[in-house]
Amino acid sequence: MSATTIAPPGIAPPGEAATAASPFQAPVPAGAPAPPLRWDGSAGRLVGIGLGNMVLTVLTLGLYRFWGTVRMRRHLWAHQEFLGGRLEYAGTGGELFLGFLKAVLVIGPVLLAVSLAEPLLAAFPVVAWAFFGAKLAALTFFVGVAAHAARRYVASRTLWRGLRFMLAGSPWRFGFVSSGWTALGLLTLGLAHPFAVAAQARWTVGRLHLGTAPLGFDGRARALLRPWLAAWGLTAASGLALWLLFGGRVAGTIIERMPPDAIEDGSAGAVRFTVYAIVAAACALPGVLVAGPVWSAAAMRWTAGHTLLGGARFSMPGATGWSVFRLLLGNALLSVASFGLLHPMTLARNAAFRARHLRLDRAPDLSAARQAERGPGTGEGAADLFGASAF
């Protein structure tokens, strides 16, 4: 590509000085900070990689997926340029495979025992219910643990100008934090969600380091309460209004119009519940479609706006509800209409969205950043088993 790829504004042209003036000291025009992130990857290439991975994964009974994941990530990373430096994905398929083998050896027997025990315990209803509850709780906990461990691994394999990222924080503690917020979210019918979002941000960007330089996070969940309550209230109110106007009658009519023999004694309750649940979901849909993206955009702006790096502050002023709505709806349509074949396109769309909207208010001072430790030797095995994923 052009020379600007190598020497963005602020870097002295080659040959002029042995030590280039770093972009960090270059003055950034006030009022119009240049986008710090650039995306020049190809959605078509990603789809091609995805299709190839799919074929090879099936042919190898699933084993190729570790190497396929690496191929996908290498393209995604290498085509994102932060302050003129391209990201590099330094993980290997072998590391993922070994991590998976480790996890299978440790967790596999437990999962097998649990899944065999479940039908056998059907003989003792009380024990079976207790077992089921314990299983759900343990699963929620371990999904959190695995997700944070996976993020630590991916951060340690992400390089920028030769420096590794490093994500601090114990996966076990994150397991408690995330499962705690999940439980609280359920208990409060979702009202506690902003606190879960804030905890997530503190545990991801808040604990992330570029080399040894920490990214800071100074957001408080309180600021998220208003947009969340507004979205929640709008969804609830519009859902309730639609239910009162049409939903209740529609559900009643559907049940009445059912062939009388479709509802038999034993299943009448279940059939009725299903009809009501579907109609209720349909009533809530318009609210979710409007309030969901508005809330997502608010959470995105809030997360970015409270993230700091080397004395500079990020922001995402252009991430509006409408732009998030288009992004999410497009992603959903692409994935669904193609039965997942075009899913990699959504990765490209997300990267382009981030690049388009992320801003940095000044050049960060990274002069104190030094190389981080190597990080975990193998990666993501547990996350792979639990179906949790870092990206």
Binding site: I11, A12, P119, D265
Partner: protein, 555 residues
């Protein structure tokens, strides 16, 4: 270095490049000089920064037209965008690329051998392992699991237990079990009052036969065939072994493949192959049982022939049985090979077979399924009656029925006018039902005596009008049940004496096929309907002439 430059002077290329030292974030612009042996990096002043052997150089990526290089085992990176230097570096990478390609081919060859071998080992190795786990489960534990499974299937439905029928069923099961070496401990055969045509063997000897299967079985020998098949499942503990195999299969494949959809689908297919394997084993052993008792396996064969003939979607079809007992041509052929046509013994005396068929009550098929009125007045029930008579009005009877979870419904019912010298049969009926909760008046026709085939063109005629009925779940319904109900009542009020329900037995290629006809008197209908309207405390819309015209057109 000087020696290398002399040896191949043309190979020396020099250009500016961006250097990251892998220790801090500030980039350096250096002069990079590539010789055949090494890549030298110097500051503009000439001070050497690094010298990397060419053989230890690795291309990290080529994004945006620049080459990103790294020496092996180092965090340092060099970004080269000068076209000449890039070309020279790419050329120097050739041996390394060839080595990488060879490594990949070796990996692919290894995978081509190991992956099928591993898959095969798992496919063949897992079932015996799962069977061993299942066999280690104590018998009383297995029975508890079976009881819980059976309870889940039974749900809120009634278990039929008319003593004579149950005794005949138990005797047949005992005879087959003794002949087949099926452990008698825990063995229990029950009939579930459910129209589905199905039978199943839960772990621990719990066999459940659905009432629909008894209705559809052509003979006691067909029932014996199905029962022997289920007892073979019990003998080989297929229930528990299947649970262990499938549960483990999904964990193993899910873990190995990380939840890949394609592989999960493959796992489902493997799971089905386990089920087919069990079905074949049960067929073969069931047929042996049948031969040992002298009954012969023709019954099961006849039953499968019925499956083939009825196919999916037929009213009250055998599809339920097919979906849980995948039948294929092989399986039927295997059974035909098993069948011995020589002088088969009876499964049970005709009287006992009648008792088994009546185990859920005599009028089981004539129930008004519209309201799930399982306590039909004619049926002998041990349970508290949920029906109440409102009286008899000439040709019609009026009843109320308590529908669980819904309230009380009312219905008027008429039986066909008997032919001279015959007794009135309660096995065929015309229903007018009213359910207050949805304010609907239904009309339907049901018969237990040679019911119309699924696609039959059924016609109801009265007072010079006619309307079409369609079979749905064992009863015949009009398109607009509300309007036809009103039209029939209006006709009765006008003094029309009779309604007929008729259909063609079969589609004949030439001429009119013989029609089966049932005649119903309409005397008393208006009064019976008034009685049920009063009982259900619901003002009925008067039968307006407009709806009459809409419902019934001239024949």
């Amino acid at each position: 270095m000087a020696a290398a430059a002399e040896a191949a002077p043309a190979a020396v290329v020099e250009a500016e490049a961006e250097y990251h030292d892998g220790r801090q974030a500030r980039p350096l612009w250096l002069r990079a000089r590539l010789t055949p042996a090494s890549l030298e990096l110097r500051r503009a002043g000439g001070e050497a920064v690094a010298s990397w052997p060419v053989a230890a150089l690795r291309v990290v990526d080529r994004a945006g037209g620049a080459l990103r290089l790294a020496p092996d085992g180092s965090d340092a990176r060099l970004l080269v965008s000068d076209a000449a230097l890039v070309a020279a570096l790419e050329a120097a990478q050739r041996p390394r690329r060839r080595a990488a390609l060879r490594r990949r081919l070796r990996m692919a060859a290894l995978a081509a051998v190991l992956v099928p071998a591993g898959g095969l080992a798992l496919w063949k190795g897992w079932p015996p392992a799962a069977d061993a786990i299942a066999r280690a489960v104590p018998a009383d534990w297995e029975r508890s699991i079976g009881a819980a499974t059976a309870a889940a299937f039974i749900g809120g439905k009634r278990v039929c237990d008319a003593p004579a029928g149950q005794a005949a069923l138990d005797a047949l099961a005992a005879k087959l079990a003794a002949a087949g070496g099926v452990p008698a401990a825990g063995l229990r055969v029950r009939v579930l009052d459910d129209p589905a045509v199905n039978a199943l063997a839960a772990p621990g000897g719990e066999v459940i036969v659905f009432r629909g299967l008894l209705d559809r079985a052509g003979s006691a020998e067909e029932l014996a065939g199905v029962l022997a098949h289920e007892l073979a499942h019990v003998k080989h503990r297929h229930g528990l072994r299947g649970v262990a195999r499938v549960a483990g299969l999904f964990v193993l494949t899910g873990a190995l493949t990380g939840g890949s959809d394609a592989v999960a689908a493959a796992a489902v297919l493997v799971g089905l192959s386990y089920s087919r394997e069990f079905e074949r084993e049960a067929d073969a052993d069931g047929a042996r049982m049948l031969r040992a008792t002298g009954i012969g396996a023709e019954g099961l064969q006849a039953f499968f022939a019925r499956l083939e003939r009825d196919g999916p979607g037929a009213s009250g079809s055998l599809w339920d049985y097919v979906s849980t007992h995948p039948a294929d041509a092989d399986r039927i052929a295997a059974l035909r090979a098993e069948a011995r046509p020589a002088d088969p013994a009876q499964a049970m005396p005709a009287g006992e077979w009648a008792a088994v068929r009546a185990i859920c009550g005599a009028a089981r098929k004539g129930e008004p399924k519209a309201g799930s009125a399982k306590s039909q007045p004619a049926a002998g029930r041990a349970a508290r009656p949920r029906t109440r008579s409102l009286g008899t009005f000439a040709d019609w009877e009026a009843w109320t029925y308590e529908e669980r979870g819904r309230g009380t419904m009312c219905y008027a019912v008429a039986y066909p006018v008997p032919a001279p010298g015959e007794r009135r049969s309660r096995k065929t009926m015309l229903w007018l039902a009213h359910r207050p909760w949805n304010r609907m008046n239904d009309i339907s026709f049901e018969t237990d005596v040679e019911p119309p085939p699924a696609g039959a063109a059924i016609r109801i005629e009265f007072g010079g009008r006619a309307a079409a009925l369609r079979m749905r779940r064992g009863a015949a319904w009009p398109h607009d049940t509300e309007a036809l109900s009103a039209a029939l009542r209006a006709a009765a009020a006008e003094g029309v004496a009779e309604a007929t329900v008729s259909w063609s037995e079969a589609v004949k290629e030439y001429g009119e096929a013989p029609r089966r006809t049932h005649r119903f008197g309409l005397r008393g209908l208006v009064e019976a309907h008034a009685a049920i309207g009063e009982a259900c405390q619901e003002a009925h819309a008067p039968a307006a002439p407009a709806t009459t015209a809409a419902a019934a057109s001239a024949p």
